[in-house]
Assembly symmetry: C2
């Protein structure tokens, strides 16, 4: 018996829901401190208590309230994003110097944004550190496919890459055609164009002509061992979704070292690989969303249809981005 | 200034979220009793306290627990769905006899299902009564459209009907091409085929050949004055979604008396009508979902993109259907 689609969704959307068991949810929250910044009421992420205790918080930059379990980035009332970001960077530099966290050994040199209510850009931090703070991270996922026109999916084949076996995270697992994290100040579509070129050798003009925005998936991931670094860290995520229908003449191939090889798989082959657990968890979620939008998974053939649809569009506890404003 | 897409979503998804304000949510729940049945732990719906007090509950069939705010349909431990349904029917018959609720004057003679955990069919009740119990109701919505092939939506036109001005609910408002409630034992696709024929004169073979399942939207509606009957009743809803791409030769026209006329509107005309508040609330949600899936609303042009996506796929507090099992 392979994994069901709901099993796959649950591997990705792992944080408990208040509505399922209010008492358990309340007690579970006691494992975390809430991340805040001066001047903003919103909780921006959940930090595992063990991380709070280990962190070499620089004096004066942070207020740790053990009773209320909050960690607040302390700044003047008129602090700019650059000032907040500098304080966070200084904090992380000290943690790296002391080698406090395994996670930071995978330093990416890439900045990820943190937003407040209304999509206000508050600050940015090194990508590899985001799970320490449990802040929302953003990415793009595209499913590249060819389709000879059968509406029920019979003629549809998907471009599926295998991750490099030497990659730090999820080595050797199957992935989505194009997937990547969004840095600060990047917008989803431009991120897609960049990643499609870098990861799949897809020329910019081909991506621009063929990619169609198709929504997003959101889920609340809890990192396990195969994510690399400390486990049980939180990673609430937003992935902007694109469908890229390609002609049979376009061939995806690796460009950088992240992908080993691309294969054109039928829907059945892809579903078998999903059931076998061969896909990176969040790629499974994106494919399930693709199959639902394309009429391949339906209320009549998927017993957990409604639970899946709700969980892959989870309303996160934290403020999120608004790319139309920036 | 017209209504934003998020304004439209909020008109439909009106029940508060725990995560937005736990204290307010907890106090708000005190306005309701939880609906339960013997032998099942799950809460099946929320009944407004004023409804609980007014209802002529037949002796012995119901247990009202004022302290815990529960209303339980009391049966033997091995009760069948038919036995539960008979008790509910008897209860409603008495309420009709006493003319207790305006809502029941709109008796539909149509049975709606109520499910327990795992999609177990527990009982059915008269459609018009479901908001009294706040149970989840199910329907199908299809967007029929023509598309000359512009991928960004420029060539896309949608078949939009106007509801009859004499209809009990939402008279004269714009609607979706095909929309209807699902009765007990009905499955989504067959419901669509029936409604498309009844409401839009779409021949069965045209619907079967052209309709593609495209997911669902879910939201927690609170009934206002234009829904008819008592206000503030709860109506958590699941709508199974279909896209029906039609050739330019197919013309939708009214068949029964529910629809006044059909028009083929451009995306811009449809969006203008949405902003003007001309659509029935849940039809707006379905169109917004359509525009997101078709790349017309994107993260770059819709400031509330993430909030909208999460709220139109709300994870309801109650058990829901599983049509793949029945």
């Amino acid at each position: 018996m392979g994994k069901s689609n709901l099993d796959l969704v649950k591997e990705c959307d792992r944080f408990p829901y208040h509505q399922d068991d209010p008492a358990f949810y309340a007690s579970h929250l006691q494992n975390y401190h809430a991340l805040k910044v001066t001047g903003c009421d919103a909780v921006l992420g959940y930090i595992l208590n063990s991380v709070v205790h280990k962190f070499p918080w620089p004096q004066g930059h942070w207020a740790i309230d053990a009773a209320n379990r909050t960690v607040t980035l302390v700044t003047g009332p008129d602090a700019t994003p650059a000032q907040r970001s500098a304080q966070v960077a200084q904090t992380l530099a000290e943690a790296v110097r002391q080698d406090t966290f395994q996670l930071l050994r995978g330093w990416r040199n890439e900045m990820y944004p943190v937003y407040g209510p209304g999509g206000e850009f508050l600050f940015e931090m090194e990508r590899s550190a985001t799970p320490l703070f449990g802040v929302v991270s953003y990415g793009v996922h595209a499913t590249c496919y060819v389709d000879d026109g059968h509406s029920t999916g019979g003629g549809l084949r998907l471009w599926i890459p295998r991750r490099s076996r030497t990659k730090q995270t999820y080595p050797g697992m199957l992935d989505n055609s194009v997937a990547g994290g969004m840095s600060s100040h990047e917008k989803p579509f431009e991120c897609l164009v960049r990643e499609a070129s870098e990861e799949a050798s897809l020329p910019e003009e081909v991506t621009r002509a063929n990619a169609r925005a198709a929504g997003c998936v959101t889920y609340f991931y809890v990192r396990g061992a195969n994510a690399g670094g400390e486990t049980d860290l939180l990673q609430p995520e937003v992935e902007y979704i694109y469908d890229v229908k390609l002609g049979a003449d376009v061939v995806l191939k690796p460009c950088d070292t992240e992908v080993e090889e691309f294969h054109l798989l039928s829907v059945e082959e892809t579903q078998q690989a999903l059931a076998n657990g061969e896909f990176k968890p969040n790629c499974a979620v994106v494919l399930i969303d693709f199959f639902i939008r394309h009429g391949i998974l339906t209320a009549e053939n998927e017993p957990d249809f409604l639970e899946i649809q709700a969980r892959i569009h989870r309303r996160l506890e934290f403020p999120t981005a608004s790319h139309a404003m920036i």
